[in-house]
Structure formats: C-alpha cells, structure tokens
Symmetry: C2
Subunit: 205 residues, 2 copies
Amino acid sequence: MELPSKHLQEAVDQFSTLPGIGRRTALRLAMYLLRQPAEEVEMFGQTFKDLHRQINFCEKCHNITEEELCLICVAPKRDQQQICVVEDIRDIIAIENTSQYFGVYHVLGGVISPMDGIGPEDLNINSLLHRIEAEGAREIIMALSTTMEGDTTNFYLFKRLKDNDVSITTLARGVAIGDELEYTDAVTLGRSIANRLPYESSLAR
Amino acid sequence: MELPSKHLQEAVDQFSTLPGIGRRTALRLAMYLLRQPAEEVEMFGQTFKDLHRQINFCEKCHNITEEELCLICVAPKRDQQQICVVEDIRDIIAIENTSQYFGVYHVLGGVISPMDGIGPEDLNINSLLHRIEAEGAREIIMALSTTMEGDTTNFYLFKRLKDNDVSITTLARGVAIGDELEYTDAVTLGRSIANRLPYESSLAR
C-alpha cells in the first residue's frame, strides 16, 4: 500500500504501533484526523507529546500520579495496612469503581509469564516486599487474573510473603452475579459449592 | 470511570474522539503508550501535531499531497482527459494498487446523503465541473460505492455532466472474482447476466 504523502505514511505507521490497530484501521484513523480542524489535531498530538513528561508513577504503589505519591496513597482515610495487589492500573480503576475497598494498592505491572519472558524480577515484587518490611501490613489481598499466569504469580507471592506476619487473601471466586448456573463452567461452579457462604452474607451487598 | 491523573484523562479523551474507539479501548491505548519509551511517545505526538501543517490537498483533484498538485496530477504519463471520480482518498489508493488505471482522479470527499445532511454543495462537485470546462475531458469514470447514496450521487453527477461532450462510465458491476454463484445476491447476479461479456474479454486480466 503506497500512500501519496510521506507524512501521511508516518501517521499511519504511528497508529499501527498501537495494539489491535492494523494498517487499514490506521489509515482510516489518519484520514479521519485529516478531515478534522487543524487546531484539534494539533491538540491531539500535543496531548501525547506531553504524556510522559506529565505523568509519573507513584513511588509507593506504582499507580499513575502527577506528584510523587498517588492520590490513594496520600488519602488520610485509606487503610495503609491493607494492600490490594493488582496487575495493572486499570484494575485499580475497576476496583475503585465498586466503592467497596478502602485500603491501598500495589501495582505489579503484569504477571509472571515464562512464555512471554516475564519473570518475578520484571515485576514490582521487591518493592512490595520492602514496603511491607518498612511499613508493615495487616492484610495482602491478591487481586490478579484467574489465569494460569495469575495463579502462578499468586503462588510465588504467597511463598515470598508467608514468613511475614500478614494475612494473605484472594478475591472470592464463584458464580458471577447475573449468571445462569447452566452456563457457568464446571471449575467455577465446583469451587463455588466447596466455598459456599452463609445465606446472610449474600444479602450484604 | 475516574482516572488518577488529568493528563491521562486527556489522553483517553483524545483517543475516544477517533471513530470506532470507545473509552475502554482508549484507556488501553493510553496505558500502552505510558509503557513505551518516552521518546517514542513524544514522536507519536509530534507526528500528529505536524499532520495538518505538512499535508495539503491537491488543488486540482483534492488528493493528498505535500505540494500544490499531487503526484498523480503532475505525472506526465497519466491521461489528463480521463477522470475517475471517487469518494475518498482511500479509493485512489485501492485503484492505484490494481495498476490498471492510467488516468487522473477527482475526490468528491463523500457522497450525497440527505440523512447525514450532506448535499451536493458539501462535495467537490463544482470544482469537478470547472475542471472539465477549463481543461476538457474525454471520459468521466464514476467509481462510487454501490449504495443508495452512491447511486444518488452518480445520478446527480450524470445530470450535471450530460450536456458536456464527455462520455460517462461507471465501474463494471458483476460477480466478484473468486465468488461462488450460489452466494451472490440476486441483484448483482441479475445485473451480471444482463451485462454479460464476450468470453474473450474475461481472459484479458
């Protein structure tokens, strides 16, 4: 596909670097921008040009912030002794949206995945251990994906943490609210029978 | 969805303005850029910041160019008397990829679509008429979409052009090469029987 302008080609190339965007979509997006007012497109570019300069990662939990520490770590009402370990900043956003969690977070930046060449040293695991040693923690909630990689990471963290005086929990696994039983997979359903709850706790939502 | 940084929010907002990109995808793309090296993301922004300044539209055919006229309009070997009318610059790229066309183009910038509030005055139709008056043309090939809007635009152009001494053609409609007859829609198949060709012409590919 030869384009009539090298600058259009550059714009298409840049869009193509984004995950899930192929060359055809990239061209469609670049053509869309060309039809927009020049000032708006300049603003579009400026936003990404400044992105790295204006966004930092929290020194404590690796969440996104514009200061040294993130808004959650500095909030006086958050329980600093309860740390929820997540893969990604998007998981923080998802949990914050529930308004059900009042502790702090720790972003690992991924999960252990030998297939992708990601080992424990590539994740923010040492900073989690230092943080627990320095400041203590009452509870570590492991909120990772329920995939093989997530389970491996959970197991690794459990082994590294178990000598500390801290209780280690994971998110409840079970039938999702709104799901029909017949479509729930056997592993989830089996686990939800084994870990059944007193009826009263299902009312407290 | 509340984000931990106003600059991240801006990046997500900017991605969300693109067609086909919702807020979740926008966040995924912004997070991807945050994980890339700062220089690369700065380059990403710079490319779009410069986009409008570096790309013009050809004064003659409205194709993309970095000069006043596009590479096709200035090419000495192209037949200036044969004008292929297309909706969009992407259609030029598609036709150029066939290496079967040696005339020039005229980009309408869309099709007549009353539902979307697009009338003839919103398209590059007057510049096409001026161009034909000023420079003459032997043939106008109408290469618009085979939709109702494309057909309406074809009909409108035909009415405006028919008093000029120019032959007006459209792309051949018929069974696509590689298609099975039983899956071809009835209108296309009916048209391809009515407009059947001498066998020899099907060999000249």
